[in-house]
């Protein structure tokens, strides 16, 4: 009898007092491991996968170039062909050297020597534009490049 009585008793409410703490810990975790988005994407940018990728050691001295097909809303302006995006704008291949040299000039002296160009290229883009960019970079003696990839099987790129 006593037992059955106990069962009918309502369960005590789960204390949610520590919920804010848990959420705060999550919050701090995300604040520390992420970086603020500095630019909006103007181009499609699905990076290819690679297993052997190495982490870029220094975050200083990195010039990011994104290459991909322009997003739908920019198609009327720049067309359908793959475009280069540097910081928040589209640039043409022949303007590339000027812009990159400008960015190099703005860098502190000690970063210039280790300047790396990180190519974030959409995996569907043809190699033509990538080759053009590489040729341009060679001409201004910026030889360190990095093909940005995500961790994964290379097979999935095909």
């Amino acid at each position: 009898m006593i037992r059955s009585k106990k069962k009918t008793k309502s369960l005590p409410a789960v204390s949610t007092a520590s919920l804010p703490d848990i959420v705060f810990i999550l919050l701090f975790f995300f604040m520390t491991v992420t970086v603020m988005k500095d630019t909006n994407l103007l181009v499609e940018n699905t990076l290819p996968n690679a297993k052997e990728a190495a982490e870029l050691k220094d975050r200083d001295g990195i010039i990011e170039l994104r290459i991909g097909k322009p997003l739908k809303k920019y198609e009327s302006k720049v067309g359908m062909e793959p475009q280069i995006q540097l910081e928040g704008k589209f640039i043409r291949v022949d303007e590339l050297q000027g812009y990159v040299l400008d960015m190099l000039n703005q860098m502190p002296e000690h970063n210039r020597r280790k300047a790396t160009v990180s190519l974030k290229v959409d995996k569907k883009v043809g190699m033509g534009i990538v080759s053009d960019v590489k040729t341009k970079l060679r001409a201004i003696n910026l030889l360190k490049i990095n093909y940005a990839t995500l961790n994964g099987e290379g097979q999935s790129n095909l």
């Binding site: 949610t16 992420t34 690679a50 990728a53 190495a54 870029l56 290459i67 569907k124 030889l143 990839t149």
Partner: protein, 207 residues
Amino acid sequence: MPIHNQVPEVNAGSMADIAFLLLIFFLVTTTLETDEGLQRLLPPQENVPEIEVHERNVFRVQLNDKDQLLVEGEVLELDDLKQKAKAFLDNGGTSKGNPGHCVYCKGNRAADLSDNPDKAIIYLEHTRITSYGAYVAVQNELVAAYNELRNRESLLAYGENYAAMETRFYDEKTTLVEKEVLKKKIKQIRTLFPQKILEPNANTTAL
């Protein structure tokens, strides 16, 4: 009287909601760092003197418009590329006693593959329409071939993975003395299997 002295308790029930809002804000406005990739060194533009290379020392990899792979004149699947590249690099065709004999090579010593790893050149061709994804996939396989061979030699010589040595070298906690030692070891392994990937389209060679 005692009621007047008591400070009313602040209701903390909405604290979780506030924290959740903040959390969602940070999730939306930030990105996880994706700064990893295949690092490459382009050759300087000054015209490098032409060198004559024996055909057996060249490993031709070609990617066509449809992202199909042709290796040494044969159609190949991407999965088999690494094995083939390793066999080529590790061949060590120069026979014993001759200059350039590769002591550490464990390959078949075939007559149509490379003389020694130092002479072996991988020649990667692609068209303008080849997709970047396919190109990276191939680069990845080639780097994997080099890395596996380097790992093998590194384990034999120093009992440590090549990749592990590299990570340790770039680690901030490693002392300068250790770094000196590591640098020498890494350099040694790199000279055993130097990465020579040639791209006619942009002439990329590597580390």
